[in-house]
Amino acid sequence: MAETSNFLITETVIDIQEVVNKVTDRNAGAINTFIGTVRELTKGKKTLYLKYDAYVPMAEKKLAQIGDEIQKDFPEAKVAITHRIGELAISDIAVVIAVSTPHRADAFTASRYAIERIKEIVPIWKKEHWEDGEEWIGDQLEKVAYPSGKPEEGDLKS
């Protein structure tokens, strides 16, 4: 069942084509795909590898919520998101977002929205491992978590 869902947390390598296939549609002229990969250098510090943890059932629900939010703005959009957890090496794919829409501008807007929302509301955590240490990354580097469906006044400036 989980294998056919559009919103998945997985412990295995993500197949981009498989995520894209979920949103392919006769009335879509555009598919935007955002692929998040593990970058070696962040603020001058060299990452050796990452570990992602997630509250899996809630994370999948929150990914689906992001899909619903997009469809409120773009009723014809189709959305699929897969996020990988576990240990990831440099250049490994952590997340694939695919959004199809009839016209291209909406696909870009919706895909961008999805990645920003993932960083706000989806219970997934990243632990960076460097040569000289390791740390769970939270809002010291990223955004704060939003409990509500939408970011609240002032949240975006924090």
């Binding site: 943890d53 509250y55 960083k119 509301i121 219970p123 769970w136 939270g138 704060v144």
Partner: protein
Amino acid sequence: MIRVLLFADLQEKAGIREIEISAEKLTINGIREHIMELYPQLTAIKTAMPAVNEEYAEGEQVVKAGDIVAFIPPVSGG
């Protein structure tokens, strides 16, 4: 019994991912205080976002036996 889940650095600092509390009813704030008594090192739980049954919740919310409570540290997916 109420199940409480800890993640990321909360889990690492507690050394445990799941705690069971024998209670019929408690507020989330009450649960948080209980956990901080058990694991005083979990100072970060004060700023973690609570969730009940996989949905974000407020500290005043009352939780019943059978519910699953989670403390969500600032997320960093993507």
